[in-house]
Symmetry: D2
Subunit: 344 residues, 4 copies
């Protein structure tokens, strides 16, 4: 099989590095272009990056010369974006308007009416928005986004609960340090400490699920008729967001029904798909980020402590790897889905 040429925008940051790590050994993609901010252009990636996701930078990217974030400078079949939101709005739009397929981890376009916000196992049919987006905007290319790193774990666990009559959700998060990028959270701020605040996070966690779990009616996404309330907190954990969930239903629901629902979410036949989308742990004290975040190469989401609150409310814990399933892996899985659906 020929490999698709992949460019990465924002290649030196934490998520950019994770993209490189995952794509450098990917059977469908080869990394051909790395784009970064002005001051790095023309320099070698290996000299510029402060590599923090493993012991060694993959050899094949060390000597790649950094390119500007300009559609004319890039040759690629797909562009992965690890840009911060403000830069993303401008740059991703330019790439799409110049005919590129952009798989974006940035929040800039996620909630736009004509931009798919997709988790392949949850709402692949939302890719139908692509045609509408291209028409609306007169773009030759298009943008497909994946959710916020906290919202994605939650939504993967909520999807199978929709048929049980899910109505409202409360979620308290304990989010990993890598979610703040690098250098991110100072060690002096978080050692022997909790920071009960993450800027902009609660808004994303409360709103993205409504779109993700919504229905495409042929024209647009009708948001899911549920409410989500979030309280977001940073904890001294390297990778892996842990979330305590109260799921409220419109009727009595049993723990067994919930477990069965979780187990029913099927993986897709894509290279980055995990064998199990949701792993249900039965131990009283799992999932735990250090032990469970690498399940399914970081693409599985683990749940546990599924227990009854009131008759119509179930409590549980959901945990997943925030820079894999919650960022780079999410974009890559979206790209794989688009290839399978012949959209690339």
């Amino acid at each position: 099989m020929r490999k698709y040429k992949a460019a990465i925008l924002g290649a030196t940051g934490m998520v950019g590095q994770k993209f490189i790590q995952m794509l450098s050994q990917h059977e469908w993609f080869k990394i051909t272009s790395l784009a970064a901010s002005e001051r790095r252009i023309g320099k070698f990636y290996g000299d510029e990056v402060d590599w923090k996701v493993s012991a060694n930078i993959p050899e094949e990217v060390k000597d790649i010369e950094m390119l500007p974030m300009d559609p004319k400078a890039i040759d690629a079949d797909i562009v992965f974006s690890a840009l911060p939101s403000d830069t993303a709005r401008k740059v991703e739009g330019e790439f799409a308007s110049h005919g590129f397929v952009v798989a974006s981890n940035a929040s800039a376009y996620r909630m736009e009416e004509d931009v798919p916000l997709v988790i392949p196992e949850v709402n692949p049919e939302h890719l139908a928005l692509i045609e509408i987006q291209k028409k609306n905007r007169g773009w030759d290319g298009f943008i497909v986004t994946n959710p916020n790193c906290t919202a994605i774990m939650l939504v993967i666990s909520l999807k199978p609960l929709m048929d049980l009559g899910l109505k409202n959700v409360k979620v308290a998060t304990m989010q990993a340090l890598s979610g703040a990028g690098y250098p991110g959270v100072p060690s002096l701020a978080i050692t022997d400490n909790i920071i009960p605040f993450i800027k902009g996070e609660e808004d994303k966690v409360e709103n993205e699920p409504l779109k993700l779990l919504g229905k495409f009616n042929g024209e647009k996404i009708e948001f899911a008729p549920i409410s989500v309330s979030a309280s977001c907190h940073r904890v001294p954990v390297i990778d892996g967001h842990t979330e305590a969930v109260w799921a409220g239903f419109d009727k009595d629901v049993s723990v067994e029904e919930v477990i069965e629902a979780f187990n029913s979410l099927r993986p897709l036949d894509l290279p980055t798909s995990p064998e199990k989308v949701i792993i249900v742990r039965k131990e009283p004290d799992r999932p735990q980020p250090r032990f469970d975040r690498d399940e399914g190469n970081g693409m599985s989401v683990s749940v546990g402590r599924i227990r009854k609150d009131s008759s119509s409310t179930i409590k549980y814990i959901v945990m997943g790897h925030n820079t894999v399933r919650g960022a780079a892996g999410a974009s890559i899985l979206n790209a794989e889905l688009m290839i399978k659906e012949k959209l690339i």
Copy 2:
């Protein structure tokens, strides 16, 4: 003023050490007896304890000989109990039946109908149960308990909300390591990790508030007509329990009303009382355990991030020092209240 003679049961554990630290410099109490388990009897406290709450053991307790947990062996005006729950049931009862006043941090008697479960600023009137307890049980002495270390922070913040029409509460906790005692949580279990489970904790956090916020009707406590649902988690923080709270009311409530209510909770005129019972932080990212746990010498509770969820639900964070306000300091404040009320 003469000093009251204080005995400590379970003196070598984490909470026992905290009792010693707080009582060794207390203006009303002097430590006269330290009781511990069988194998330590007759040995010097300084030789037996693995002192972990500060640099040095207070000089005055180093050479105290450990006594058996036997009412006949102890001479004291008040007995502070830092015993584990199973031992507490038997030992505390024996002391009370032999005429001792027992201020207990253990959970054994907290939910007994005739035993006061008290936070001085919240429900001092519940001490009226003492007479009923003595009569019921034919005891010369009596037991007064303080709440679980997580429940107490929560309840101190809920008390002022009762008049606003509080109906239901959801709370997700991020609890400190010291709450598990010593040696407690292995470093290999919690480094770069979260443990989303604490045995028996959710039950206490869900039930104790109903009694604490209940009304004494002359015979017994009528539980408060609210519901509490908890999800409890251990985090890598030394001291200070952080709790994310959703407070649901029977009507629309504003953030300003809640702040005003928090500020209205008055300290008592007792030696261990903090200047402010509740400290309202206005910074977007506070309270944080490392910075706020020592406020009011560990006896103040800090709240922050008070924000509207839906019209009748308010979200906020509450945090307090679990071994001070949540354990030893709670018992000591109860003892001070009893002295003021001439119950000792």
Copy 3:
């Protein structure tokens, strides 16, 4: 190739778990027996172990019934010992006397005159002691030991320096939590802290290298004519011992000579051998445990910051995975060497 039957003594501890993890996917061995202390006998391994080295216990050991540590109860070609030193003395001797080959990670027999203390890349010829041991003790089997987890990293780095005229060594260690086993170091003891003491450790680090780097003269090991002085400290790191070394020579030595020597240490052709025994890092701030401990599947040792002190002293940092290269992996590599040398 047929697989050798492997038994593990002390299978539920930290090192025992690491043995299981490494052997469960080993091409030469299959785990046939797991032995543990009295109270676990007859129970299933999966029910008894508090598995802490990865997300899931390997399926194939879950239902193994635990056996007594009795040579008559065990059927194996090789016995791996993860026992604590005191138990090891008695039990390992019994197994060897009953004809078993024991590859031991315990310290009990390491410094015995007729027991090989071996690192395959350093002193494979010391296996010649086996014959002497069997004759001396009248044993049908024999014991081969691997070094202390701190000594082994140091000695692997010192071996190539012997030819440069190494005379004396000072080493300050920063040792990982897993070195203390499970539960081991309490989180309350080590969070935001360093413990500058590890019981018995300095003695091992100062003495084992003299034997490891010594010469077998046909009868016994002549200790290497060098001196080692150690200061050992516990740090809040999960895995990976970091060691700051001063290597003093009998003549002027250059940084280049030292690097060349490090690079000259060749791996053996054994399944667990890493591609590089010593990895020389050129970055100014490496090696670091979190990033470098898994190099060579945990069997490579990383060095860095090689710099001149005085004309005849070189300073450097050496770091390796203490439960892999420093424990289970060390024993397994020894076993592989023995198979290759037809000693099993």
Copy 4:
């Protein structure tokens, strides 16, 4: 007593905050001016600082307007400098030339021949360089410096050893996060990790002691005839540098002599002086940063594990609070000494 007017240069950084914390409750000083970089001038300190050294900014500095680092803008009897080294060279010189007394924690002038590098308990007589400095440079004011935060702990412990015949020192450090300032070390870099490198540190630790322990011969400092070799490492500890020391003597020295020497170092009669300069711990596993760093309000240095290496070498651990005794407190103690010596 009238209070001396104190200005702080670099008031918003970590050490600047520590200066404010210590001076805001000081009996001899009152804070009158806070100077900071260009962009902060004219703004209120309370609005600009990201206060990280305690729960609350001292009330009295909240509304101080930040001033430029310009001698003409500042009214003060003494100027405390918490500037980074490069800025310090220019700014401190300007202040001194304009008649100010500068007590500097910066490294810029420490090793200048005519600038005193002083620890009051170690080499107060070096203040005699002030006159030479003023003459040499034609300044009306002068600069007095305190050592690097790692060197100062070491030198306080070495001073009493000089009379025993100290010749050479090897020191391996485990340095706290606060030594790198704020934001300083990213949490992602140091969680579950050690960084075996601190830029420029080893050079300071190897050279400053020679000057500090040197003799003033009426004209200049004759460096002490000892050698120091350092290996410096960053560890996940908030405050408190731990150092493993090998002290080599020109003759046989006993542990008892060393302990006696440590105990003989007398505190000065100054407000910030601790009761004991060196605290000798007898426990096998002390000093530890979390438990011992606040001894003497952070001004005591703790030693322990004093043990014989070879006949003429003693090993021990020394630990002290790096932002108190190692930075702000060091400058303040120097200022107190200068007041006592009527140099201010």
